[in-house]
Every structure is written in structure tokens, then in C-alpha cells.
């Protein structure tokens, strides 16, 4: 009976297992293999050992630029996104009439396809006649170049990323709903003001959700591609590379955009695979660091704090 149950269990998960092997595990393993080859996708791969990695770390002129750009984007967009998402979630956690409507409209932008969203923001941030510059001008502030400016292009990308905080906000909202109201009632009776309640009740009990959103945010931000690809092609850039131009002074040339360039413009799949493996290892390392250190600041209800 137990064996039959086990068999049925495996049968039920078989479609998912097949999918994850074919569409996840196989490409990852293949990419790892190709990273040690010279491969242009049309001819058989030729084994070259660690040559791609050596070239990447010693001869790639754009490595530093892409790493700096990606770190800039990640280090600002992730904390800012978390703060805003938490703020929005706390606002959405009110028992007000029509709160469902507000929850919907805050979440809707995260449903917009990334390409469509980027194109929309290109219009809003158009330096000539965009909505944002018109607003700045009305307020007596100077117009900005946004995607045409090497200084403002990354802030523009970060601004664009904040438009989609609805998803994280919804997860935070779920976390807030999990916190028993009894704690707040007890704190109120003891005379705690809202700031103290937030600091000593909300935050600690929300740490698992914060941890989840932080990890997902870091993974997503290090892999930023679509917005940089679309905006980088539309912004002023010297290259005719369309989406992979990297924007003015390569200010929007992210690591993933460079990877894409090597894969699909220069037909260097082996080198692009090496870049992908390196990115995977970096994100894995960061995630492991977060997990290892989470014991000191993530509080799971019922578990002793380490």
C-alpha cells in the first residue's frame, strides 16, 4: 500500500519533474558544459578548457562597467523597492471602505509585460516632451536627460523598477495579515505608540517576509535585462546595437545585456555561457550568505531566536 502510494505520488509529480529536467536542469548543465567550449550554436562545440573564464576576467574590457552598473542598480533598487513595498503594504493593510480597489490598482503595474512597461516609461521619461520633464518644468526644476543622459539613465531604470513593487507589496501584506492583532492590543494597553509597535512587533514578525523579498529582489536585480535592453536601445548611444547598445557611455550596459550581446550578436555562445555560470555562482554565493546570516535577524514565530 505504501509502495503504491509512493508510486502514485511520483506519477503525480512526473510532469513537473520532466519539465524541470528538460527546461531547467538540462539547459543549466548544457550551459556549464558550453562554458568550456568555443561554440557558435551552428557548428559543434570545440573544447577550450577555462579559456573563456580567463578571457572574461583578464581581457574583457566591459566587465568592470557591467559589474558596476549592475551593482549600482541592485544596491539602490532592492532596498528602495523593499521600503516602498512595505510602506504600500502598510497602507493597504487598513480596514477602509474601498481598500480592495486600492490594492488592485497598486498591484496592476506588476502585471504589465516588461517590454510594454518599458516602452511606456520611455514616453514618460522622454527628455523632449515627456510627462516627467513637463512636470519638472512646471515645478521650476531643470529638465533631465533621463535615458539620454549617462548620469540619469540608471536612476531612470530604478524609477521604472519601483513601478512594479505591487507584487512585493502583496507579499508584505500577506505577512502583515499573519501578525496576530492581540500583540498590537497588548502593546497599546502598555502605552506603546505606533512607532514602537512597528519596531517591536511588526518588523520582527515580518522578517521572514522581508527575507524572502530580499532574496528574490537580489536575484532579480542581478539579472536585470529587459528594461536595460529596451531603454538602452532607445536612449542615445553610439552603437548601432539596438537593444544591446548600453545607452549613453554604456551607462545602462548591464551584465546580462553584455551576455546577450555575446550570445546573439557575436555568436559566442561558449563565452556567454561562461558569463552565465559566473553570474549563477555570484548569486548563489550571495544567497547563501543571506541564508547563513538570516539566523541573526529573521524571526520565525515559535522558533528560538539564535
Amino acid at each position: 500500500m505504501r509502495r503504491q502510494q509512493n508510486l502514485m505520488g511520483w506519477l503525480f509529480v512526473l510532469p513537473w519533474v520532466i519539465g524541470i529536467i528538460v527546461f531547467r536542469a538540462y539547459p543549466i548543465i548544457a550551459s556549464f558544459f558550453f562554458s568550456f567550449t568555443k561554440y557558435n550554436i551552428l557548428k559543434p562545440p570545440v573544447w577550450i578548457g577555462v579559456s573563456n573564464y580567463v578571457t572574461l576576467f583578464t581581457k574583457e574590457p566591459l566587465l568592470e562597467t557591467t559589474v558596476i552598473n549592475t551593482l549600482y542598480y541592485a544596491l539602490i533598487s532592492v532596498p528602495l523597492g523593499l521600503l516602498l513595498a512595505l510602506g504600500v503594504a502598510m497602507l493597504m493593510n487598513q480596514n477602509l471602505r474601498g481598500i480592495g480597489f486600492y490594492r488592485t490598482i497598486y498591484y496592476l503595474p506588476s502585471l504589465v509585460p516588461p517590454v510594454a512597461g518599458t516602452l511606456l516609461w520611455l514616453l514618460i521619461l522622454n527628455p523632449g516632451n515627456g510627462l516627467m520633464n513637463s512636470l519638472l518644468e512646471t515645478l521650476g526644476l531643470p529638465r533631465l536627460g533621463w535615458f539620454t543622459s549617462p548620469v540619469w539613465s540608471k536612476p531612470a531604470l530604478i524609477l521604472m523598477s519601483l513601478w512594479g513593487i505591487g507584487g512585493a507589496a502583496l507579499i508584505f501584506l500577506g505577512g502583515l495579515k499573519e501578525i496576530p492583532t492581540a500583540y498590537y492590543e497588548a502593546a497599546e494597553i502598555d502605552g506603546a505608540n505606533s512607532l514602537r509597535r512597528f519596531r517591536h512587533i511588526t518588523l520582527p514578525l515580518l522578517t521572514p517576509t522581508i527575507f524572502f523579498n530580499l532574496v528574490m529582489g537580489i536575484i532579480g536585480s542581478f539579472q536585470v535585462f529587459t528594461s536595460a535592453y529596451i531603454a538602452g536601445g532607445a536612449g542615445a548611444g553610439g552603437s548601432g546595437a539596438g537593444g544591446t547598445s548600453g545607452g549613453p557611455l554604456n551607462s545602462m550596459l548591464m551584465y546580462m545585456v553584455l551576455l546577450f550581446r555575446y550570445a546573439f550578436r557575436y555568436y559566442s555562445m561558449g563565452y556567454a555561457s561562461a558569463m552565465a555560470v559566473v553570474l549563477f555562482l555570484v548569486i548563489l554565493a550571495l544567497t547563501l550568505v543571506l541564508v547563513r546570516t538570516s539566523g541573526g535577524w529573521v524571526f520565525y514565530e515559535g522558533a528560538p531566536r539564535q
Binding site: 502514485m8 503525480f12 557558435n40 527628455p127 523632449g128 548601432g240 546595437a241 546573439f264 550578436r265 557575436y266
Partner: protein, 488 residues
């Protein structure tokens, strides 16, 4: 809640449903069984066969005998209609072909990305229009060489095309695509505004040197604090056309060269090319506050599109390709203003007018199921079948025998018949000055590197000499690496 679904328990129902889902998934992944062969028709009785047999010989090939040819175009779906008309012209001459047109490709990603994936998977279209360098694409093994086909072709013989156009598709004696069109660049200017400024509006009086053009440009420039309200001419904006197309032209206008396709080597860091960069920097400093970002933030100065400074009355002159003259958005401008054209002037170290080659290329991907049919489609599109396209979009034909008196509908609508004829003949003549481009084995790498370098130079991050030297080193090294790998 009931634990039964009909006479089955929920557990049993879920087990059956899960098994059915797995079975369906596995069945969907199974290779398709070949279609059963159609039963052979019985031979008709002799006494009835005579007349029907004669009629059958005169009819077009039956559907089952026609050769299916799949055509993908990088042009998007709004050109589906004209592409199908061109395919129709091909099929009239070759009734044995059954061409299916997919404008914009099948989707699922960038056109060239998807094409590359299908070539590697072994199921590409039989013919495609590409917008990437045919030589760099062909050297990866993605394209079928066309020389053998061309040697016995009816129309697409090697000498049927302008030499420069065909050279864009060739590398060391191998032709990787046919040139559908060969766009040229020139200066478009607002002759009405010239007249208002007391300047001669006639093309004969237009500057033929950079110094004269620069002096003319200065007369139009107007700044309001940090906003550029009016510009004369700005040739040095970093944009999508600069690295791919315009830089080489301006190098050559100054007697230099970027990529020497005959010797397969780059000379980006030559004195003449550095002089071009220095000239542009001094021009920007003199007339445009030395700040390329301020110029970019103030408007669109370097191309002819809907937001072009020329059309909005902000720029007196822009450099653009001739195809822009057939666009509808030009109509309002030319209704109220006289638009004229002039060749790009020569630089201090140059002597010969030059223009470039902005392309559309027709190719037969490697592994095509019907490469013969694919080539016949290439031939049709690039020669006798090009007329429907040309009538819709003013793309300069690469075929020598394309008639001079056919007018593009957009140009006709914008300028009227007499003026449209003048414009057409003018651009057909400018085409003679085209320098072959797009034929480097590292086309895309060079474009990206040079574009980024140019961007750095105009932002004054690096000096022209230093920047061009870095670009030269990187691109030449990449070229040698690719040539070694491709064993050519």
C-alpha cells in the same frame, strides 16, 4: 464536503485525472507520425482519357506538386501585404513554387535570434530578409553561399547588381546574400528657412566642404540658457545609425577609412579619422556649448523621423537616408516648406563625395528544405519582383536594370510627380558614391566597439587619438580571432 465524485472517491478521481494528464503530456511530446500516403488514383479508361489529359498538361502544377517555400522577413507585419504581392510576382514566373510569407518572423523573440535558433535546430525558413551583416552571419555557417546559383541565374547574375551593393554581401569571393536595396545618406535641408535667412536655397550653392557647412550651420544656431532652440547641422550625435553607417562615411569623406574590406583590415586609428573626431569636437564646442547631452536633451537633431528637428522647424539641416522621404509624416512639412537635398561635403583631408550602404539583404539559411526555391525568391525580390516594394517604400534598388522612372508612392504623395521624379533621379545618382559596408567578419563587434568609443569621445571621456587606438586594437584582435576560427 463530499469525498465522492460520482461513484469514485476523490482520491481515485485525482489518480485517474493525473494519469490522464501525464498520458496527454507524453502523447503531445511524441514525434508526429507521417501522413498516410494518398491512395494512387486509378488510371482513367483510355477512351475517356484523351481530352482531359491535354487539359491537364496546360493547367498549373497541382497543389500536391508545388514546392513549398517558407519566407521570413525582418520587415514587420504592416508590410505583409506588399511582401505577398512580391511573392506573387515570383510565383507567376515560377508557378511550381508555393511561397508562404511570414512578416516579422514567427515571433517568440528577436527576429535574428529566432532565425539563428531555427538554423541551429535544422528547420529554418527557405529564404529570409535579414538586417544583420551577411558576412559575419554567413561566416558562422548560418547562410548558404549563393555563387553557384548566381552563375546560372536568369536575372541575379553577378554583374546584374551595382558592384558596391554586391560587395556588401561578399567576403573573399563568397557571396552570402543578395542585396535587395542599397540606401544612401545625404543632407536634407529646409530651403524655405534658408530663403528667410537670406541664404541661397539652391542645391548648387550648398557647401561642398566641411568648413563651409560649419559656417553655414552657425547662422542658424540659437540657445536659450541650456536649451538648444535652433540648430544648423549636427552630424555628431551618438545614435543607432552613427556607428553602423555614418562614421565610415565621414571617415571616407575626410580621406580616411574605417574598414578596408578589400584587404580585410581595420584602420580606425588613422590620422584622418582622428581629424574627423577633433573636427566634430571643435564644432560642438564652437556652436553647441561643447555638451552632447544638452543637445540630446533639447530634441532630435540627427535623423528624419516624426520628432525630427527638421520637421519641427528646429533644425535647418539633418543627414538622413532617402527612404525617409516616402513617409507620411513628411507630408505636412513639405506642404509648408521646400525641402532640398545635398551630398555630404568633404573634409579637410578628403576630396571625393561618399555615401554609404544601409541595407536589406535576402539570404538562404543553411539547412533550408528548399534552397533552390529560396534562391528563386531571393532573385525575384532583388530584381524583377522588387517593384511592388519600391512603389511602397523608397528603398534604392541594387539591381542595375530597375527602371529610373518608377515612382515610390510615398514620395509621389509627398512631393508631386515632377518633383518626385527629380528626387528619384537625384538619389539614384547619389547611389553611385556608395562605399560597400556590412561586409566585415566582425561587423557587430566593430559597430558596438566603435559606437561606444565615439560616444566616449563626444562626451570627452577619452581623446580621439586614444579612443580610436583602443577601438582599433580591440576590433582588429577580434577580427583575427574570428578569421582564425572560421578558417578563412
Amino acid at each position: 464536503m463530499s469525498l465522492k465524485v460520482g461513484k469514485y472517491s476523490r482520491r481515485e478521481f485525482l489518480m485517474v485525472a493525473g494519469g490522464a494528464a501525464v498520458g496527454g503530456l507524453l502523447a503531445a511530446c511524441a514525434p508526429q507520425a507521417p501522413a498516410p500516403a494518398e491512395p494512387e488514383a486509378e488510371e482513367p479508361a483510355e477512351e475517356m482519357a484523351e481530352e482531359p489529359e491535354e487539359e491537364a498538361m496546360e493547367e498549373a502544377p497541382a497543389e500536391a506538386e508545388r514546392i513549398p517555400v517558407a519566407y521570413w522577413s525582418a520587415w514587420t507585419a504592416n508590410h505583409q501585404d506588399v511582401l505577398e504581392r512580391m511573392a506573387g510576382v515570383c510565383m507567376e514566373r515560377h508557378p511550381e513554387l508555393d511561397v508562404t510569407v511570414t512578416a516579422g518572423g514567427p515571433g517568440g523573440g528577436d527576429f535574428h535570434e529566432v532565425l539563428l535558433a531555427r538554423i541551429s535546430a535544422g528547420n529554418p525558413p527557405d529564404v529570409a530578409t535579414i538586417w544583420t551583416g551577411p558576412v559575419s552571419f554567413g561566416l558562422t555557417g548560418a547562410l548558404t553561399p549563393l555563387d553557384e546559383y548566381m552563375s546560372v541565374a536568369e536575372f541575379a547574375l553577378p554583374d546584374a547588381f551595382f558592384e558596391g551593393s554586391l560587395q556588401c554581401c561578399q567576403f573573399r569571393g563568397t557571396t552570402y546574400s543578395l542585396p535587395h536595396s542599397n540606401q544612401a545618406a545625404a543632407i536634407l535641408y529646409n530651403a524655405t528657412w534658408f530663403e528667410e535667412m537670406g541664404l541661397s536655397p539652391d542645391p548648387e550653392d550648398f557647401p561642398t566642404t566641411w568648413d563651409d557647412l560649419r559656417a553655414l550651420s552657425a547662422q542658424f544656431v540659437e540657445w536659450e540658457d541650456d536649451i538648444l532652440n535652433k540648430a544648423g547641422f549636427i552630424p555628431f550625435m551618438p545614435n543607432e545609425y552613427t556607428a553602423q553607417w555614418l562614421l565610415e562615411i565621414w571617415f571616407q569623406l575626410n580621406g580616411g577609412i574605417g574598414y578596408d574590406f578589400e584587404n580585410v583590415e581595420y584602420s580606425i586609428d588613422s590620422e584622418e579619422n582622428a581629424e574627423v573626431m577633433e573636427y566634430w569636437l571643435s564644432w560642438m564646442d564652437e556652436q553647441y556649448q561643447g555638451d552632447v547631452d544638452k543637445i540630446a536633451a533639447s530634441g532630435n537633431w540627427s535623423d528624419l523621423n516624426e520628432e525630427s528637428g527638421l520637421l519641427l522647424g528646429q533644425a535647418a539641416m539633418v543627414q538622413a537616408g532617402q527612404w525617409t522621404l516616402s513617409y507620411e509624416f513628411v507630408n505636412e512639412f513639405v506642404t509648408n516648406n521646400r525641402m532640398e537635398m545635398a551630398k555630404l561635403p568633404v573634409g579637410p583631408s578628403g576630396s571625393t563625395p561618399v555615401t554609404g550602404s544601409w541595407p536589406n539583404y535576402m539570404c538562404v539559411p543553411t539547412g533550408a528544405a528548399e534552397p533552390d526555391g529560396g534562391f528563386l525568391m531571393c532573385e525575384a525580390f532583388c530584381t524583377y519582383g522588387n517593384r511592388p516594394w519600391y512603389e511602397e517604400v523608397f528603398d534604392l534598388p541594387s539591381w542595375k536594370d530597375f527602371p529610373y522612372d518608377v515612382l515610390s508612392a510615398g514620395v509621389l504623395a509627398n512631393f508631386g510627380e515632377e518633383r518626385a521624379l527629380e528626387i528619384t533621379r537625384w538619389w539614384f545618382d547619389v547611389r553611385e558614391d556608395s562605399y560597400p559596408q556590412w561586409n566585415s567578419p566582425v561587423q557587430e563587434f566593430a559597430d558596438d566597439t566603435l559606437g561606444a568609443t565615439f560616444d566616449q569621445i563626444m562626451h570627452k571621456v577619452v581623446s580621439p587619438v586614444e579612443g580610436l587606438a583602443q577601438a582599433q586594437e580591440a576590433i582588429q584582435a577580434q577580427l583575427e580571432q574570428v578569421l582564425t576560427a572560421a578558417e578563412v
